[in-house]
Symmetry: C2
Subunit: 425 residues, 2 copies
């Protein structure tokens, strides 16, 4: 066994063949859905300047960046999401808007390792740059729904609006310069008890009564019309009204895109990153076996791209690949992909390896997956190996048969053997 020092570092993991086969199948399905929504694949660089990463992401994330200097003293960091890099890419290019991009790739956060969570992880991520329309928000939600439907996951999308939540904050009297702090508190709503959360508000300088008013006003979950009505009955302001109107427009767009039945409004959703500005959403598994953190999440972030040099509204979503795999595993829906060869080429004596190689080459030329014996084992051990790796057929190359231009082909399922001319394989 390898010594500890040669294991992956803490929080990192290697991907072995079985998991990789499932991943690649998942990526293919996601790519197919992305294609239907006419998103084009890109990938920003993994190493960014630290400045780019820290520009508008928030205090929580900044602490988690793997930061280092290169040999010329540049301050660099490993990306912690794909949105920042894609926003920088779109700002630095001139594609016709709206730009519809996706990326399936890995990123890094120095988090406390937990079961099933790593410091290097993968996301599928799609963004629409350049459109301020609520239909762009709806398309992102619909895309996420279609991805989960393609995997037959049971889920609900909880939709909210940072505009509406902010309007409520202002209506209950939270000061402008405390809004960001209030969002950061609300993001912890699901992880903290109400009392702890009120303490957290206080630590950030938001008075207890205002925080209580806010939490009461946000404690709303349900159909779009019902939540809109309820929030309007509790809090009145012009901004509340206009944010409510937007939510109702989104409702209609989601209906047209045939995903309304998968969505509810939940005003406690605000997302953890500071760059969000409008509609936000998170999808959760509803199957009891697969409960846990969000399967995907996203929202509108109209001010991020501007930081990188070009003012542009934007909306997007991202989902963790490992989280999706965990959900699929829990529901027994992880794609099972065979990586077994079609043929294993065995020999009776190693003097026949050239014949084996030429048969392997011939079958490969026809598109079959072929492995030949490379270990100089006895025939019985070769057959055992072929069985272990799940080879469908074994070609047995023996001296007597080869003289007649023939080989034995064994069907590993039925055990049947046939003599076949090499030319007719």
């Amino acid at each position: 066994m390898a010594s500890d020092k040669f294991q992956p570092p803490k929080g990192m993991k290697d991907i072995y063949p079985e998991e990789m086969a499932a991943r690649q199948a998942i990526f293919s399905t996601i790519r197919e859905i992305m294609k239907r929504y006419s998103f084009k694949e890109v990938e920003p660089t993994k190493i960014e300047s630290f400045e780019t990463l820290a520009a508008k992401s928030g205090e929580e994330i900044e602490k988690e960046i793997y930061a280092f200097e290169d040999k010329a003293g540049r301050k660099l960091g490993l990306r912690f999401d794909l949105t920042v890099g894609m926003a920088r890419m779109v700002a630095g290019s001139a594609y016709p808007t709206p730009v519809r991009w996706f990326c399936i790739a890995d990123m890094f956060r120095y988090e406390a390792p937990q079961k099933g969570r790593y410091r290097a992880f993968w996301q599928w991520d799609a963004e629409i740059f350049g459109s301020a329309s609520v239909y762009a928000d709806a398309e992102c939600i619909a895309l996420g729904c279609d991805v989960l439907k393609a995997f037959d996951v049971d889920f609900e999308v909880r939709v909210s609006s940072r505009k509406l939540v902010q309007a409520v904050m202002e209506a209950v009297g939270i000061e402008r310069d405390k809004i960001l702090d209030a969002f950061r508190c609300i993001d912890k709503l699901q992880k903290m008890k109400r009392e702890e959360l009120l303490d957290e508000f206080e630590r950030r300088g938001i008075m207890r009564e205002k925080a209580e008013d806010l939490l009461d006003a946000l404690d709303l979950k349900g159909e779009f019309e019902d939540v809109v009505e309820a929030v309007k009955s509790r809090v009145q302001s012009k901004d509340v009204n206009s944010a409510c109107d937007e939510l109702l427009q989104l409702r209609d767009a989601l209906e047209a895109l045939r995903v309304l039945e998968n969505c509810v409004v939940d005003l406690s959703i605000v997302r953890g990153l500071d760059y969000y500005t409008g509609i936000v959403f998170e999808a959760y598994a509803t199957n009891r076996k697969a409960l846990g953190s969000a399967i995907f999440g996203g929202g509108r972030y109209d001010e991020l791209v501007g930081i990188y040099g070009k003012d542009m509204p934007a909306v997007g979503l991202a989902g963790g690949v490992e989280r999706l795999m965990e959900v699929l595993k829990a529901e027994g829906k992880l794609p099972e992909v065979s990586t077994s060869p079609d043929y294993f080429i065995a020999f009776v004596t190693p003097q026949l390896m050239d014949v084996c190689a030429s048969i392997a080459s011939k079958l490969r030329g026809k598109g079959y997956a072929v492995e030949m014996e490379l270990m100089d084992r006895s025939l019985s051990k070769q057959l055992k190996h072929a069985n272990r790796i799940g080879a469908r057929y074994v070609v047995i190359v023996g001296p007597d048969e080869v003289k007649e231009g023939k080989v034995k082909v064994r069907d590993m399922e039925s055990g049947e053997e046939k003599l076949v001319k090499v030319d007719e394989l």
Copy 2:
């Protein structure tokens, strides 16, 4: 335009849609060839402990590692190749041998940036662990050849043997403890003039006359039989003979695998990494337009896996994705992949966006790539956009037609328009 500080850091680059589409097409082809050779995809972690990376890679590479500490003070580094990680993975697992793995992924080296070379780059890499057979070496070479043939590249593989070169070194009197230095010098043979190279030998404490004898003996390139005969006539030793026998065995295996005609022996090839121990090879473009560094390279490294805890012979190859793309581009063979949508859904008035969304949803459900207008533009501007993004058809949703349950469909190639029932789209 974005300011400089928000560009990718020096030596890094973003991948935009056109390049990504070509890459993904290339990856599909490589995966198909890997499958035929029954290699299974894996991926080692990108962040390794520095100790793992530095274990047996050589002085040149060690200088180029992006090294940093995590917040717990662990010495880490970004991987500089895929072989080291895969060797560590195989040492830490218990798959039936031989283990046939491949990986297509990115890595990092702090090199001086050159045209077309980046500090983050991709490789396709395949390894066979557990077999000491020269047929495993031959399968790796054949795999590489089949990859390049799948892209219709003109190339030759230059094959050599570090065992043979080492036997020659010993025969000309180079001391055992200078062998590694001598290999490092020979690796520079193609980049340096003979005089400079002799100086380099001297700097490393290898006498000029011995170095000259060595360079003369290695100045051999041609058919397997011819080179073997020539080297044997110049240098006699038991080790030379046995290394020559292995080369001739390899020749027969390459012939059986139908790639001998793509291979020549070139004893000046030794590879840059210290972990190689046996047969080594590099493939070069032969088309004048695509000349340059190796397209793939590899060889046997029987002592690397042992370092990570399990003694195991191994052989593998890797090719640079960017280098392959450069070659394909030069030869006009880069895959061209359309990322244009099948349908663009335009509206006459934005009040019809719900209808557009439901048509988009319906066409997506049938597997088409669909983009709908999200910018609130005039119809003529929408059509211009549809043309610019290469949409095959435009569905025009107008109030009069919609009343009759119909839409106009414009064929963007012929310019023809038809009225079609929404139900029959």
